[in-house]
Amino acid sequence: MTNIGKEIRLSRIIDPEDGKAVVVAADHGFMLGPIKGVVNLEETLIKVVEGKPDAVLLSPGQARRLNHLFRGKKAPALLVRADWTNAFRDKTYTLPARSIKRVAVANAKGALSLGASGIVTYYFIGHSEDETEAYNFQLTSIFSRECEKLGLPFIVEALPFGERVTGANYAQLISVAMRIAVEAGADAIKTAYTGDVDSFRRAVRSAGVPVLVLGGAKARTLRDALEVVEEALTAGGSGVVFGRQVVQADDPKTFVSSVRMVVHEGKSVRDVISPYRGPIRLLVRAKNCVGCRECQLACSFFHEGEISLKKSRIRVDVELPEKFMPFPCTLCGKCVEACPTQALTFNPELKYVEFTAERCIGPKGCRKCVDACPFKVVGWNDDVKNPFICDMCKGNPKCVEYCPTDALLTAPLKGV
């Protein structure tokens, strides 16, 4: 029972070669007004299109206005948002919504005449009003029938939303919302990532149609956003519909290309974000430090298998109210020079300070390295009578990874 029109049009969104899609949502103006990144939508979208997304989602008005972006064989497919909701209302110009309302703003035919390769509508589950819930379903099934008749792919954005959603039932509700949408006729699903691979895998399986994961609020780092993509794919997802992640990125083109690398080229997140594998050094941006000590906690956990501020290879000075200063290893080599037994050497390949326990003076240790460190970063492990020596986590420092404010960064080590 194939619908040829749907299949052909869906193949413009989801690449038949690998069954994956990178879709950029830019319909925010519709629900939120001119938020950052979509103030000049055309300018942003030109950059987005350069990154070669498979499709772009727009409101009917913008689809008409910016139709020129979708002409030509290499242009992305167009998706049209066919309903409006008050659910995401921006608190800066009005009160939060008292109850979730939805209104149809385009029909399938209208979308088709705009050149759309598909339409997208919401399906919410988790609010307590019976009428809203019934209307929710009614609207979905009307769109479904229209799309079926016209051979237009019908993508449903199925989301837990409303006061009955709890932290305990959230993942389950994602699965339920997706399944109901599929029962109502959705050809593909856009939904939120459940947060972990296992529960998302279960949800994708029970949906039985391609599932694209959405991005939500702009992540602090590219890595976070890409990790979600990677995990969603591992769980059987078919790609992404990213909105704010892309349009609010400093460089939307590179962002889309990065997502493509993960989705279509199967690259790992690490390879996409930091392909550099050579020697590194640690940089400090003291003004960014907020004194959380997550770097110290992470350092001890990953090196010692236990968490302790006193067993960390990085030191943080916090003196309220204004002094916040991390002191990582600077690779100055004073400890290496001071070591009488060559227990400390520079790693020939990655240039970090390497500690060889067998060469260290036992059983009490001479502690010359501890005394030599100009920044008191080298500590003493009294349990095993060894120094705590920073090894730059052999190229991927945990202190940097766990720093929430970029007070610690890495840079390639040059001139060694």
Binding site: K91, L95, R164, G167, G216, E294, S300, G305, I307, S308
Partner: protein, 601 residues
């Protein structure tokens, strides 16, 4: 995960106990554990300021790990309310307690002289400290560290705690376990400070799984608008304008929910004019809601941690004050003398209304307490902090103050003796229910329905509805919060995390085989009923689960909730039923055994 240090200050005896694993499994830690300890150890009708009262400091399975935003639970029977009272403190002392080898400290008795409790990597002692008595909080904290040496994390009380004012918190590192008079309990025990240092490592059950689950939690926080932008940039005050728009910003002692000076005291305004630095007040904090600024006053200037939303409402809009620096300076005074900013602001506002309504005629007034007068507000805060003049009466709280002026109880804004926080319940019915049923009186942090009702988080809910769905919303939030409070993480993590992410961290840290997040939510419900049982034993029931007359009888005059009162009775019926408590709010026997409490209490 169950090493408890018991300290008897009267006899200077210390004891280390291990808890039954079954109890820990059922109650997790933090709030759950502290509630259980108090239920076991505090005899009914004990005066909260008697040596027999128990002060418990309890960590949870996520303290001292790499999990985000760690706090410490401090609990006792409250001198403000006579109920159980658990409060949560940022700073670094929670993690340090774990590093010193203890999961909880239980303090009873009364030291003969002003003393401090020192826990130094497993060595416990009580040291006399007369020289610290009378010192302000920050000076006392510095002095203790100076005397004991580097690496100590210290919790102290200010002069108000020494005077056993029921609005005195415990302070550490500019943060406080703010509500319900825990500082007074310390004061009653002659305990000025608790100093902790530890050199031990904290281990988790499954390292690689824990690493993964913490990373997912951190990532989730970094991908949520509230936790990655609103709170980091504008602090907790990011919501003030929204709360004002919804007509829920308590103004002039809750006379209305709209404040004409809201723009002036918004997070946006503080950010652009005064805040200097974002600050992670808690170990592992990835949110940094805390802000540091300088406040100028009388030729000098002082550093203030804050002000946060609750302080800005209480000392600001609630007193009609829109002077940012006056609010910040009063905040500073509160922190230094060791009094709770929420209670102080609500007390001052009450005093201002007493004046407005003519109750204070013929009294000798230190200042004219007029709404909107920032100087008067600062002066009164100072008097309360010092316990001087009229401050001597005011420091006892709104409830006791109202007893002096018959008729004024109608606008005495407290529940069970705890002053009301910054969400007008007539404009958010769910908050009304939360204040009424919270185990420690008017608290916004037990079931924060305001996020959904007023800020529209997660799709929102009609703030004016008071049906079964609203009651269920409150119950869901209350249960989830009890889990976070037992973990012990900061409440704000829940703006980004779902309970699922907390569950994943808890299970990998403990190895406890909770089936799913819902089982953890049920654990939260268990703790809520246990704290209820404590209060029932003290004589509390439906009659006490109420709100001030103003909320129940006087319609809100303006805003979207104009004309509303709180429909409390209907919500209480539903609430008790859904909780498995009887019509009077007493947990049914059947419930107690069904939810897994019977065999551990």
């Amino acid at each position: 995960m169950n090493r408890i240090l018991t300290v008897d200050l009267t006899q200077e005896k210390f004891n280390t106990q291990s808890l039954d694993e079954r109890v820990v499994y059922r109650l997790l830690g933090g709030k759950g554990l502290a509630t259980w300890i108090l239920y076991q150890m505090v005899k009914p009708d004990v005066n909260p300021l008697d040596p027999e009262n128990v002060l418990a400091l309890a960590t949870g399975p996520l303290n001292g790990t790499i999990a985000p935003c760690q706090k410490l639970c401090i609990a006792s029977k409250s001198p403000a309310t006579g109920t159980i009272n658990d409060s949560y403190m940022g700073g670094w002392i929670g993690g340090e307690l774990k590093f010193s080898g203890y999961d909880a400290v239980v303090i009873t008795g009364r030291a003969e002289h002003p003393s401090m409790l020192v826990v130094d990597d497993g060595n416990v002692s009580v040291k006399r400290c007369e020289r610290l008595w009378g010192m302000n909080t920050s000076a006392a904290e510095r002095k203790v560290i100076e005397e004991l040496g580097e690496g100590f994390k210290v919790a102290v009380i200010g002069p108000a705690g020494e005077r056993m004012s029921p609005i005195a918190p415990v302070f550490s590192n500019l943060r406080s376990a703010g509500r319900g008079g825990l500082g007074a309990v310390m004061g009653s025990k002659n305990l000025k400070a608790i100093a902790v240092r530890g050199f031990r490592g904290v281990k988790v059950h499954d390292e690689s799984m824990f690493e993964r689950m913490v990373w997912i939690a951190l990532r989730t926080l970094r991908m949520n608008e509230v936790t990655v932008r609103s709170l980091p940039i504008y602090g907790t005050d990011n919501i003030l304008l929204t709360i004002n728009e919804t007509g829920a910003l308590p103004t002039r002692n809750f006379q209305t929910g709209r404040f004409e000076g809201a723009e002036m005291i918004s997070g946006e305004s503080y950010r652009s004019e005064l805040w200097l630095k974002d600050f992670s007040c808690c170990l592992g904090c990835n949110i940094r809601c805390s802000k540091i600024m300088k406040a100028k006053r009388g030729g000098g200037e002082v550093y203030v941690d804050g002000p946060d939303y609750e302080t800005i409402f209480s000392l600001g809009s609630n007193c009609g004050v829109s002077d940012k620096e006056a609010i910040a300076y009063a905040n500073y005074l509160c922190d230094e003398y060791g009094i709770d900013t929420i209670s102080v602001g609500v007390i001052i506002a009450f005093y201002m209304e007493l004046y407005e309504k003519g109750y204070l005629k013929g009294e000798d007034l230190p200042v004219k307490p007029i709404f909107g007068d920032g100087e008067a507000m600062v002066k009164l805060a100072e008097l309360i902090g010092k316990g001087e003049g009229v401050g001597k009466t005011l420091q006892m709280g709104v409830k006791r103050l109202a007893e002096k002026y018959p008729g004024s109880e109608k606008f005495a804004m407290h529940v069970k003796g705890l002053e009301m926080p910054g969400y007008e319940p007539r404009a958010a019915q769910g908050m009304g229910l939360c204040y009424a049923v919270s185990e420690r009186g008017a608290c916004h942090l037990r079931a924060y329905t305001a996020g959904v009702e007023l800020c529209g988080y997660g799709g929102g809910a009609d703030p004016l509805s008071h049906d079964r769905a609203k009651v269920q919303l409150a119950i869901d939030r209350q249960d989830e919060k009890a889990v976070v409070d037992s973990s012990v993480l900061c409440f704000f993590t829940l703006f980004g995390l779902k309970l699922k992410e907390v569950y994943q961290m808890v299970v990998s840290a403990t190895g406890f085989e909770y089936k799913d997040p819902d089982e953890l939510k049920k654990l939260g419900a268990r703790i809520i009923t246990l704290s209820r049982l404590f209060n029932v034993r003290e004589g509390f029931s439906r009659k006490d689960d109420t709100l001030p007359y103003r909320c129940l009888e006087e319609p809100l005059p303006e805003g979207p909730a104009r004309g509303q009162v709180v429909h409390l009775d209907e919500m209480l019926d539903e609430y008790y039923e859904l909780r498995g408590w009887d019509h009077e709010g007493i947990p049914e026997k059947e419930t107690v055994s069904k939810i897994g409490l019977k065999d551990i209490i």
